[in-house]
């Protein structure tokens, strides 16, 4: 076993497209890294941008938000809001010195099980390259 760093990824998936796409990847027995940990929300529009920051602060080395392709949102517009909010968040994080490889957003539809695998691999690889994000960890349990 090599001593390579295994990043911890928190992902937020919309119920209708990306979560279903991830389920499809499972049904199709597509294999991908186990580093990804999914939180299901109804719509990518539900993802408060502060979740991303919070995940990084609480121990994630990388964060992924995935929703329906533009125009496919189950709720019509939620992913458009997500795109605007998270696009700006990405700018802010990068400006604050958070490695851009730590946060990704993707469009994965319910039929894109293979794309889901690619997105996971890219997210994990990027976070691995960026390394452990210890600088931002909550350190409250220290005295």
């Amino acid at each position: 076993m090599s001593e390579q760093f295994e990043p911890n990824i928190v992902a937020f998936l919309c119920n209708w497209c990306s979560y279903a796409g991830a389920d499809l990847a499972g049904t199709s027995r597509v294999q991908y890294p186990a580093n990804i940990n999914v939180i299901r929300v109804m719509c990518s529009g539900r993802v408060n941008p502060l979740y991303v920051m919070n995940a990084l602060q609480q121990g994630a080395d990388g964060v992924l938000v995935s929703g329906c392709h533009p125009g496919d949102c189950h709720y019509m517009e939620g992913n458009f809001y997500a795109r605007r909010r998270l696009g700006l968040l990405k700018e802010l994080l990068e400006f604050a010195g958070v490695d851009p490889r730590r946060f990704h957003m993707s469009w994965v539809s319910a039929s894109e099980g293979h794309k889901w695998k690619e997105v996971v691999e890219k997210t994990v690889e990027d976070a691995r390259a960026a390394g452990p994000f210890d600088q931002f960890r909550r350190r409250q349990i220290d005295w």
Binding site: P49, L50, M53, N54, Q57, P70, E77, F80, Y81, R83, R84, R85, G87, L88, L89, K90, E91, L92, L93, E94, F95, A96, G97, V98, D99, P100, H104, M105, S106, W107, V119, K122, T123, Q135, F136, R137, R138, R139, Q140
Partner: protein, 326 residues
């Protein structure tokens, strides 16, 4: 600015029955200070001033006044609030109108075209601050410090505040009465503060902000001074759920400042109130200006100019940028 006219106009307005008070600036109690003041009667108008020290954004006070329970059988005080506004104050008022934080009919707005404010710290570098209150004036293209009857000219570039150097809207964008002539907007150069950080690589940026945020005391002066941070119950104070722990350490401070900046994305009118209020001298304005710049350049939006605009954070365009999406 003709101070006599300012005081006379203010006296007339506060004498009106439908006006509760007027918010303006007065000379400070020491050194290079001017302070917000609340004028309730014509006599009080005599202490009003408008000088290059009046950088406080008075729009902050529109949402700060506590609404005490109205005793049974009584009506709430529905009188108007009068306030003096510079360009940046007026933009904050417009953004508040967009967000329904205030109603236009509740305001009497007196516009003060603003040739730019001084940065107290830069000024103190040139001439150290002393206990006695000093007076400052605009003169020619620069400033003049009046101390012990002596006038000292100060070149504009040496002491002009950063947010004023970058100001695009020095004249009030909304007012009922405009005092004096509009000033000629000046050429705005690049935002060196933001550029400087963007020029760093990402790890160096983190180090830079780590040094800054480590100093933060979480006194919340930045939030409270901001005219657009006015939630009755800020989520960053909230315990259930806890977004940010009360613990003061680098991690929580960073989360606090990033959240604060993000909540102002597309709302910040770049008045610099946060940065001026900070006792730890954290350059908070850079975070806000960075986002304001992206909102302007990538999304084509500038807040605080049109009271009928869609709130940026509650809108989208089908062709918003999405190059970053996998």
């Amino acid at each position: 600015m003709d101070l006599e006219k300012l005081r006379k106009t203010a006296a007339e307005i506060v004498s009106r029955e439908d006006v509760k008070y007027l918010i303006g600036w007065r000379q400070g109690t020491f050194g290079y200070r001017a302070a917000p003041c609340f004028v309730e009667d014509a006599a009080g108008a005599a202490e009003l001033t408008f000088s290059p020290l009046c950088s406080a954004n008075l729009a902050t006070y529109l949402t700060l006044a506590e609404k005490l329970p109205v005793p049974r059988g009584k009506e709430p005080d529905s009188r108007k609030t009068a306030l003096l506004v510079k360009g940046c104050d007026s933009r904050a008022v417009v953004q508040l109108l967009v967000e329904k934080g205030v109603k236009r009919e509740e305001l009497v707005i007196i516009g003060c075209p603003c040739p730019g404010m001084v940065d107290r710290a830069l000024l103190a570098e040139v001439i150290p601050e002393e206990s006695a209150p000093a007076d400052l004036k605009w003169s020619g293209g620069g400033f003049v410090l009046v101390k012990n009857g002596l006038e000292t000219a100060l070149p504009r570039d040496r002491v002009l505040a950063e947010q004023c150097r970058l100001c695009r809207h020095p004249n009030p964008v909304v007012s009922d009465i405009l005092l004096g002539e509009p000033v000629q907007p000046w050429e705005v150069g690049p935002d060196g503060g933001v550029d400087e950080i963007e020029a760093k690589d990402v790890a160096d940026r983190w180090d830079y902000w780590e040094e800054q945020f480590s100093r933060c005391l979480r006194c919340y002066a930045c939030r409270n001074a901001c005219p657009l941070c006015y939630c009755k119950d800020c989520i960053l104070d909230r315990l259930n759920p806890t977004w940010i722990n009360r613990a003061v350490n680098f991690s929580e401070n960073t989360a606090y400042h990033l959240a604060r900046a993000f909540h102002l994305a597309g709302r910040c009118i770049e008045c610099g109130a946060c940065e001026r209020a900070c006792p730890a001298h954290i350059p908070l304005g850079k975070l806000n200006r960075k986002l304001a710049r992206e909102v302007r350049d990538q999304y084509g939006f500038e807040p605080g100019l049109d009271a009928n605009a869609e709130p940026f954070q509650a809108a989208f365009k089908p062709d918003d940028p999405e190059e970053f999406i996998l």
